[in-house]
Structure formats: structure tokens, C-alpha cells
Symmetry: C2
Subunit: 208 residues, 2 copies
């Protein structure tokens, strides 16, 4: 649906800014802006200032490329974590998702994207170098490829596998299978097939 | 779903700001913030600055209370519009919706809310005074009550009707009926009942 003429240029500009965000249409953007206008001045200013600080102050960890407030992120700076075990993910959300499981004590490497020839994204657009350097120094024992199983993810997995198989390290990937609580008849064939092929000892699962 | 620990305080703060907006959860907020982080610095700064300007620069028309860049909005400042005909609406979106029809040549009055005893919103919280002043000066011939037909809308309509019936002006309301293109069997009983009771001459509709 179209929105009529705005009664204010600044309102229109604000709506345009919000609707440039992914998944936010003009109508939603207008609703958000009008919501902000109803808030106290301090609230709106804090919002604007946070956005202004965002790009200038946020850093990317020099070690793992995750979003960080410092040169080295908290995970990489933590001596209690296993620095020889690297979980390779696409983006910071993936780090959060895995941290949320509280099942992982290694560190991460955030690629910042996936190889996608269609979108013109090649290996040079990804952050690989710090991981390569670490591996070359012999600091890495295992890399867990934890990319999404999309075409881009598979392409990137394959590229990385080839790149890192020259080193004497273990390259693993996430177990795929029927989700816990998931029903067999709703699992797709490939997942179900993989989960039969890679079946695990029952006794191992009850120890969890 | 819960989001794990953030790797950056500033990231967390930005996510909190975005998730304070209506309809935006933590996951969406995180996606929006990470999207902004991928944009050029100028883009993000323009976004932040627009928000900062929003609250300090946007004005409300002294005549109709609509959002405006000036003391008097473009609609109220337009001498070609009928200033004796006032369409009374709840918010600026309603003005846009009616302007969009290109069927209305009067001016507006934006209440800025509806009477809602449950939420502690009384008549004193609405902007009524400029309209009352205009009416007292004899500048108004007709007020169209165009509020939503919710309980709050009806309460507010009734309050305004009582308030303005002391003046010698026409008080009208939007026609309600089955929407154009709408099918009878899907119209609710009240709308359908109203549309039979207030039936119009067929010949008037084909002249549209």
C-alpha cells in the first residue's frame, strides 16, 4: 500500500531511513518514527546517539573477527577457553547461538560472509587471514566448520576444507540429524538419511 | 527465543534501543543493528543524525496539530482548501490516509490520541483547544468525526459531539458500510446492518 504525502520533510526523511532497514516497509517505518516522536526527548536522543556511536566505536576482534568493544573480544581474551579449537561461523549471530548452548569451550572465527559467485562475493571478501596465520603458527588443532548448509555454505566449506587441509589439523563439521523433539515424518529425506548413516551409540546419548 | 551474551556492550545497547520500538523483538533488533554495521559510515551517521533531529526539529501545526516542518502545516497554509470544513482524526497517519484518497478538500484536526479511561487518557490529554477556539470564532461550519470505531473512538466521538453541539455547526461522521470490492458474506453484521439502514440512491453511486 502506498503512503500519501508527508506533512514534513524531516518526517519523510526519517521514514526513509527506517525503511532502508531489512524487513521494514514504509508503513512500519512510519509507525516506528511516530512512536519515537511520542517518546521523551532524552529517549530519542539516546537512540540517535547509540546509532552514531555504533559504526565509529564498535570494533572487530583482531583474533576472531567477532564484534567487540576492544581489540580482542572477551572470548579470545579468556585463558580458560581452548584456543586450539576453532569453530568457524558465518556471522556474530552464529557465535551467540552456539554460546547459548553452553556446550562449547573453544574459540570462534567469524568469516563475515559466505562465498557467493552470484553476488560477486569471493574468498577475498571473507576474513580468513587471521585464522590462516594462527594455523600456520601451529596454534590450531581442530577447525569445526559450522556454516549453514546452503549452496553458499557448502561452497565456502569446500573452499576452506581445501585451504586448510594442507595443515596437519582436524577439520570437522556439525553433526546433522533429526532435531531433538522433532518427529521423523517431518524430517527431510537428506537429514533423515544422514542421521541413519551417522547413527550414534544409544548409550552415548543417555549420558548427555 | 533467547539471545546469548553479546560480545559487545555497545552492540547490546543498540539492540536494546531498537527492541524498544513497537513490534521489534530482540532477534529482529540484532538483525537491524548488524545490518547497519555492514553499511558505510556515512549511511549510519545520517541515520543517527536524522533521529537526533527528529525530536528537536519536528513541530506540530499550531492550527491542526499535524506533524509539520513549520509553525503552520502545508494543508492549513493552503488558501485553496476549505477552512470551514474540519476532518477530526486521531493521528498523522489518518491524515495521510485521507489525503491519499484525493477526495477531500477541507482541513484536518489531529487529536493526538483517544479518550481511554483504562490507560488513564482523558480529554485533557488530547489536543482540542485550537479547534474549539476556531469554532468559537465562527470559522467552522462542519466537523467530520473520523475516528476509528473502537470503544475508545466511540467514547471520544461522544465526548466531542457533546462538546461541539453547543455551537451551530454540522457534526458528521464517515459513512460506514460494506467495503467496495468486499463480499457480503464476509461483512460483519453491524457493518452490513448499517449499510442497509443507510442505503444510498444507486444513481448517486454510478456518478462517482
Amino acid at each position: 500500500m502506498q503512503i500519501g504525502r508527508y506533512s514534513s520533510r524531516l518526517l519523510e526523511k526519517a521514514v526513509e531511513e527506517f525503511s532502508s532497514l531489512p524487513g521494514i516497509g514504509k508503513k512500519t517505518a512510519l509507525r516506528l518514527v511516530l512512536h519515537l516522536l511520542r517518546q521523551d526527548k532524552e529517549v530519542v536522543e539516546r537512540f540517535g546517539e547509540t546509532i552514531l556511536r555504533l559504526k565509529s566505536e564498535i570494533q572487530y576482534c583482531k583474533s576472531c573477527n567477532n564484534i567487540s568493544d576492544n581489540e580482542i573480544c572477551e572470548i579470545c581474551a579468556n585463558p580458560a577457553r581452548d584456543h586450539s579449537l576453532i569453530c568457524l561461523v558465518e556471522n556474530p549471530q552464529n557465535v551467540m547461538a552456539i554460546e547459548n548452548t553452553q556446550q562449547y569451550n573453544g574459540i570462534y572465527h567469524v568469516l563475515g560472509g559466505l562465498i557467493s559467485p552470484v553476488d560477486g562475493i569471493g574468498p577475498a571478501d571473507l576474513v580468513i587471514e587471521p585464522l590462516e596465520k594462527k594455523t600456520r603458527k601451529g596454534e590450531v588443532k581442530e577447525i569445526i566448520l559450522a556454516l549453514n548448509t546452503t549452496m553458499e555454505g557448502d561452497t565456502t566449506n569446500f573452499y576452506l576444507y581445501k585451504k586448510f587441509s594442507e595443515f596437519e589439523i582436524k577439520i570437522t563439521t556439525l553433526a546433522r540429524g533429526v532435531s531433538i523433539g522433532g518427529e521423523l515424518e517431518y524430517a527431510d529425506e537428506i537429514t533423515l538419511g544422514r542421521s541413519i548413516k551417522n547413527r550414534t551409540l544409544f548409550v552415548d546419548t543417555i549420558q548427555l
